[in-house]
């Protein structure tokens, strides 16, 4: 989580990680989830909120959010 907190996201949806120099391209929902994580929300809460906000099935959102969190782990951001 330490590394995620360092991410700086600009208005073009590019995130920059200052200590590694890596840049990332994100979409809006990815940005939203990263902000939730920075606020300290857990996986279940994030899934509930996204499902409610977008009117999507919670089970479907669970798959997508799990996949996204996996990718953040692979990138060493959480």
């Amino acid at each position: 989580m330490q590394e995620l907190l360092k991410l700086v996201i600009d208005e073009n949806d590019i995130a920059f990680h200052p200590s590694t120099g890596n840049s990332y391209q994100l979409n809006d929902i990815a940005k939203e989830i990263i902000n939730f994580l920075k606020e300290g929300k857990d996986k279940d809460t994030i899934i509930e909120e996204i499902a409610r906000e977008y009117g999507k099935d919670r089970k479907e959102v669970y798959i997508d959010v799990s996949d996204f969190l996996n990718k953040l782990k692979i990138y060493g951001l959480i």
């Binding site: 890596n22 840049s23 990332y24 391209q25 994100l26 990815a30 939203e32 996949d67 996204f68 692979i74």
Partner: protein, 445 residues
């Protein structure tokens, strides 16, 4: 309500940018085939589904035939059954004027069952069981001899039937390509082909009427056909002079490439695949250059892949996805390498059923088999697809259906879209009855 898009994050890799644009955004889309919606096709006939376009077959055939017939007065195509022997596909080629080219008794029987007369069947292949060879002889098929044992078999048949059998020999040769195909027939350069003719002539039970060669597959150099034709014509001239045979036809086999993308070759097929005119020029010019007879030989071609590959598509549906530890997204499809034999050699064209919002990310396409080798595409940039997304894989018209395995899953259906965009089922999906057909259970079990 805000519009949902699957969350995506991609590390920016500047080495991926090129003058061709960003691979993060490019999407290849195909929502229909010959005017028929891909989702309608999978809903009505199941997924995965082989789809063949009659329009594409006929256009390709006419283009190739015109390339040859406009240059040479005496040309005939033989539909290569092994490339695709679905009955409806064979029938389309026969209706267009093709005779049949078969390489086994099973294919021979298939052609006969379709109403093709024996005289309109070219019988190739390295193994022709004697009883079936005899049937083919009786029915006046064009027998292409592969080895000396076949000469012996045919001479015995000639005795049994008390006839002289017209035959052709298969000749292999160096045409400057690598690897050289030397497995079939008799070699030209070392004199083996000439010796075979001498052997046939000595017994006098067979009459040589044709010469055949098949120089390779997916030939990207039309000049190799020029070399092959020159050598075959040299052999023809020599045989006619030395033995008094009249060689009525030469057969240049198959091997013309399709617009598929060979693995390891980075130029697009549009750049490297010779045109129909290139192949036709190479072959017909060489015949004119070498012909010494007052009659031009009949020219047979056994083109398969070039004529059917781009007319075939495989529709497959995304059944799930997961994240691999290396970061790639792994899609599970309902079609795998069991249906895509040629995936070993080709990078297929993979098209999406619609535009997907979001960024592309490195992905892998896997089939439904419980086998680690079931990989259709190891690395492909794709947007976030959904469960139920339909992908169109092409070109798969050549060899994939005939070599598709009934393995783990049932073999899928195949449909033909006719020139009026009507869909016809030409092969139903297999079921347990098909799979268990002719199996027997010992009483003791």
């Amino acid at each position: 309500m805000k519009k949902y898009e699957k969350p995506t994050i991609n590390r920016v890799d500047f080495t991926m940018a090129s003058k061709y644009g960003s691979p993060l955004k490019t999407q290849k889309i195909r929502n229909s085939i010959d005017g028929v919606d891909v989702h309608k096709l999978t809903e009505n006939y199941g997924s995965p589904l082989f789809v063949f376009s009659q329009k594409a077959i006929e256009e390709k055939y006419k283009k190739l035939y015109e390339a040859f017939s406009s240059r040479y007065p005496n040309v005939k195509f033989g539909w290569s059954y092994k490339t695709n022997y679905l009955n409806a596909i064979c029938k389309i080629f026969h209706n267009l004027g093709s005779i049949a080219e078969v390489v086994s008794e099973f294919e021979y029987q298939k052609a006969r069952a379709l109403g093709v007369e024996g005289k309109d069947i070219i019988f190739n292949g390295p193994y022709k069981p004697k009883e079936h060879l005899k049937t083919a002889v009786k029915e006046k098929a064009k027998i292409h001899i592969d080895h000396l044992f076949e000469i012996n078999d045919l001479e015995e048949i000639a005795d049994e039937l008390d006839i002289k059998i017209p035959v052709a020999i298969r000749v292999n040769m160096d045409t400057g390509i690598y690897p050289q195909w030397s497995r079939f027939g008799f070699n030209f350069e070392n004199g083996e082909a000439y010796e075979a003719v001498k052997r046939i002539h000595k017994e006098g039970k067979l009459v040589l009427t044709g010469l055949h060669t098949h120089i390779g597959t997916f030939m990207l150099d039309a000049n190799a056909y020029r070399e092959a034709t020159l050598k075959l014509m040299d052999l023809k001239n020599q045989i006619e002079e030395d033995f008094g045979y009249e060689i009525e036809y030469i057969d240049l086999g198959g091997g013309f490439a399709s617009k598929n993308r060979l693995k390891g070759i980075y130029q697009p097929p549009e750049v490297i695949v010779p045109t129909a005119d290139d192949y036709a020029n190479a072959i017909t010019n060489a015949i004119y250059e070498k012909n010494k007879s007052d009659k031009l030989p009949l020219l047979y071609l056994e083109t398969g892949r070039h004529l059917i590959d781009e007319a075939g598509y495989l529709l497959t549906t995304v059944v799930g996805y997961k994240r691999f530890p290396d970061g790639r997204k792994g899609y599970i499809l309902d079609a795998g390498v069991n249906l895509l034999y040629t995936s070993t050699w080709y990078n297929f064209n993979i098209e999406l059923d619609k535009h997907y919002e979001g960024l592309n990310e490195p992905s892998m396409l896997n089939g439904p088999l419980c086998m680690n080798i079931d990989v259709i595409e190891e690395n492909i940039m794709l947007p976030s697809l959904e469960r139920g997304s339909v992908l169109t894989i092409s070109p798969v018209g050549a060899y994939n259906y005939t070599q598709a395995m009934q393995f783990i899953r049932y073999k899928p259906a195949a449909v033909l879209i006719d020139k009026n965009s009507n869909v016809h089922i030409i092969k139903e999906e297999d079921d347990l009855q098909t799979v268990n057909f002719k199996e027997r259970m010992p009483k003791e079990l």
